[in-house]
Amino acid sequence: MSKKLIDLLQEDLIHLNVEVNTWEEALAAGVQLLIDSGGVEQQYLDGMIKMIKEIGPYVVIAPGLALGHTGSDQGVHRTCFSLITLKNPVNFGVPDNDPVDVVFCFAAPNKEEHMQALREMALFCCDELNLKAIRTAETPKQVRESLIKFFKEEKKF
């Protein structure tokens, strides 16, 4: 069954102002939260980094925003999401959208189960005000409160 973003993005899956120096470290920090929650294996991170090196930084989806993910066959146990913000933004090598300071990571065991959460993540991040709320949040709880507030009303693209 498809889960809501707010149900997947629990407080322990949100880390703010993480200190990293490279895009690899940024993805590692985001995926580590998925590993700690039992959602994926270390293989998931290795697979993602390998794929980016092969085909380019496909995880960068908008200015300042990355969505770390890779294939369902790379050590995925269940649908999971994490969110980190970076104290110092990092470059992924995408001139239009670098530097990145907001990194969502997710894993999906199939093409359906994460659809609702992915849709909500995209709807939320479409709105610059919400990205600002993520960037200025002081606690994971504040991020969750922004999500809850935003989705009080039904949203459409």
Binding site: I61, D96, L118
Partner: protein
């Protein structure tokens, strides 16, 4: 006469992330434009076999270099800097329809 159906293929690294987001936003764009179309999302590994059947290929600029060589030369391509920007997607889609698919 039934309107022609525009077949659009969104391509990303593994067909689970950005191509699904593009599909969701594009379906909303097509509805707004009153265009009848189907949007499929796929991975770069599977895109090769599907591209000949698509009217339009959509991908992110960040990723375009990774698949450029696999796209048939005559196939219209839209690349998006910001895949969450419905306005960018809508404007590029509208321009392409005007230029190449005036029968839609």
């Amino acid at each position: 006469m039934r309107k022609k159906c525009l077949k659009i293929l969104a391509v990303c690294g593994n067909g689970l992330g950005s191509s699904l987001i593009v599909k969701m936003i594009l379906e909303s764009v097509l509805a707004d434009l009153g265009v009848y179309g189907i949007v499929d999302s796929t991975s770069v590994a599977q895109a090769g076999g599907m591209m000949p059947f698509a009217d339009v290929i959509i991908t992110s600029t960040a990723f375009y270099k990774g698949i450029e060589s696999a796209i048939p030369a005559d196939k219209p391509v839209i690349t998006c800097k910001n895949i969450l920007d419905k306005e960018e997607l809508g404007r590029k889609m509208q321009e392409l329809i005007k230029e190449k698919f005036s029968d839609i």
